[in-house]
Amino acid sequence: MTTRRFWVFIEQVEGNVHPVSWELLGVARDLASQVAAEAEEKGDAVVVEAVLLGDKVEAIAQEALGYGADRVYLIDDPVVAYYRNCPYYKGIAAVAEKYAPEVFLIGATILGRDLAGAVATALHTGLTADCTGLEMGEVRGVKHKLLLATRPAFGGNIMATIVCRQHTPQMSSVRPRVFPMPEYDPAAEGEIIREPLGVTEAGALTCILEFLHHQEKSVDIEYADVIVAGGRGLETPENFQLIQQLADVLGGVVGASRPCIDAGWIDSAQQVGQSGKTVRPKLYIAAGISGALQHKVGMQNSDFIIAINSDPQAPIFEVADVGIVGDLFQVIPAMIAQIEAYQQEAAT
């Protein structure tokens, strides 16, 4: 009997866990269930496990159990108080070599992508970056199911499904907000296993001299509940004011499609799409965005999409839950007024 291990890296900074880690525990549980039948046939065990590094972060390990991990490998060491590539990848690679996970998922965040490539190379295995779809499936010539990792390529115009046939772990970095957040079970139980880091401060190679905090908090569109996004149809950068007004009424933030970024109309942090951010708000309003594929892949998982475009053929309508064909300079002011009226009505 063997144990098939589905691993998730838990990303934390100063004790704050990146939500993608929990999303991945959810998808890892789902993947594990997809091999349950074939594992049972062979008498194999299937487990979901988390890997966590940090300094005094045991509470997070406990939380990981609540989000669905059966077991947490915890490397608690002052050297990894803050993320640095070398100690992190060496510590993780050592634990992975010891327990031989079958699948290893890492959030495709800035930190995660820095880490994943290094771990994969150290373990001499394959890594599929920036995935938006995962499933366990049959692959010809392989006796057990493999991880089928799907990712957009070429600016989101193509979806490629990648497999790693003979090497383990099968690694993927996964975009935030692609998978839903799992239920949290405060009563969940499981094991926390402490592992040594095996890297001293001297071996860390780099030294962080200081942290510079952003002067102004950049707009965080990735986890916003409401995004109002503008495209070329706005015609001028000044017209983002109108988008901002609508976003304000809805308590949301402003996003943009690539042409606006290319034209320098708005900060690239606000770009939604393949070359920007993947978002999954409760409400996404696309105004004057034609809906090139590269934009759609970044927002089509939104819970509800309203598209406003003067061209009834605009591809954005293909992904919209509801569309308004018309001049956005007329539609948006009307929408603002109606939402305000709606709010007042709801308040009384």
Binding site: M159, I162, G251, V319, A334
Partner: protein, 280 residues
């Protein structure tokens, strides 16, 4: 001496990719090939420091002979030497095999002329993997600073570099011993408009071409190309499209009515209540 190594890749301009509606395949006709923009910015920074400290910039790339144009472009932007790692056996490489070939070549270059800093773009715009840089760094056991936005200081005497790199939360100021690898964001440097003499030199420049064995090293054929790649493409397809929702045309029903009908749909789905609840 300051010696910067810059790894560059030629990529199809992804803003111009389209899919053949009949076959579902990628149409490459009419798609311009460009230097990966992140690499170009990394190169610009390398050249800036060369101009400041004296020294040399070497560029290296792995790809088919058509990549020569991109190497020439690097010369135009101020690189001194260009090496193209090109062999049909390298084809089909995933990031692991690519990092092997680059690391092996860089090791040889380093032996000839010790490298101070390695510059990579943060990712290539065709694959967007951001894996090759970290992979090469691990193979060469070099410190790596990804998402570098600024080089504050290069201390050749003591062998240290101070770099700003951004994370999701803040900008870190990091010091590491050289040689070190940086994967660079676009803001690390503006791409300069090359002087005419540099452009003319680049037009006449023939890069060195290293193949499996014709070059200063022999590559391990188990580690290159398809053989050295653990991942394979299982299938390709166009992204699936959901069922489109209803459209209301302002020309037909008027602006007010169209907006109302749309918002009613959002309300019926419970969305409006959910988000406005949060706004109050």
């Amino acid at each position: 001496m300051f010696h910067a190594l810059v790894a560059i890749k030629q990529v199809p301009d992804t803003t111009n990719i389209r899919i053949d509606p009949e076959t579902g395949n990628l149409v490459r006709e009419g798609v311009p090939a460009i230097m990966n923009p992140y690499d170009a910015h990394a190169l610009a920074e390398a050249v800036k420091w060369k101009r400041k400290l004296g020294g040399k910039v070497t560029v290296v790339s792995m790809g088919p002979p058509s990549f020569i144009t991109t190497i020439r472009e690097a010369i135009e932007l101020g690189a001194d030497r260009g090496i193209l790692l090109s062999d049909r056996k390298f084809a089909g490489a995933d990031t692991l095999a690519t990092s092997y070939v680059l690391a092996a070549a860089i090791e040889v270059i380093h032996k000839e002329e010790p490298i101070s800093l390695l510059f990579f773009g943060k990712q290539a715009i065709d694959g967007d993997t951001a894996q090759v840089g970290p992979g090469v760094a691990v193979r060469l056991e070099l410190p790596i600073l990804t998402y570098a936005t600024k080089i504050r200081a290069v201390d050749l005497e003591n062998g240290f570099v101070t770099v700003e790199r951004h994370t999701e939360h803040w900008v870190e100021v990091v010091e590491t011993p050289m040689p070190t690898m940086l994967t660079c964001e676009k803001e690390i440097a503006e791409i300069p408009f090359a002087p005419l003499p540099d452009l003319i030199r680049s037009l006449r420049y023939d890069p060195e071409i290293w193949t499996m064995s014709a070059g200063p090293l022999e590559f391990d054929k188990q580690q290159v190309g398809v053989l050295g790649s653990p991942t394979i493409v299982f299938k390709m397809g166009t992204p699936p499209l959901p069922e489109p929702g209803e459209k209301f045309n302002t020309r037909e029903v008027g602006v007010e009515k169209a907006v109302k009908l749309a918002l009613d749909k959002a309300a019926a789905a419970g969305v409006l209540q959910a988000v406005l609840g949060g706004a109050q």
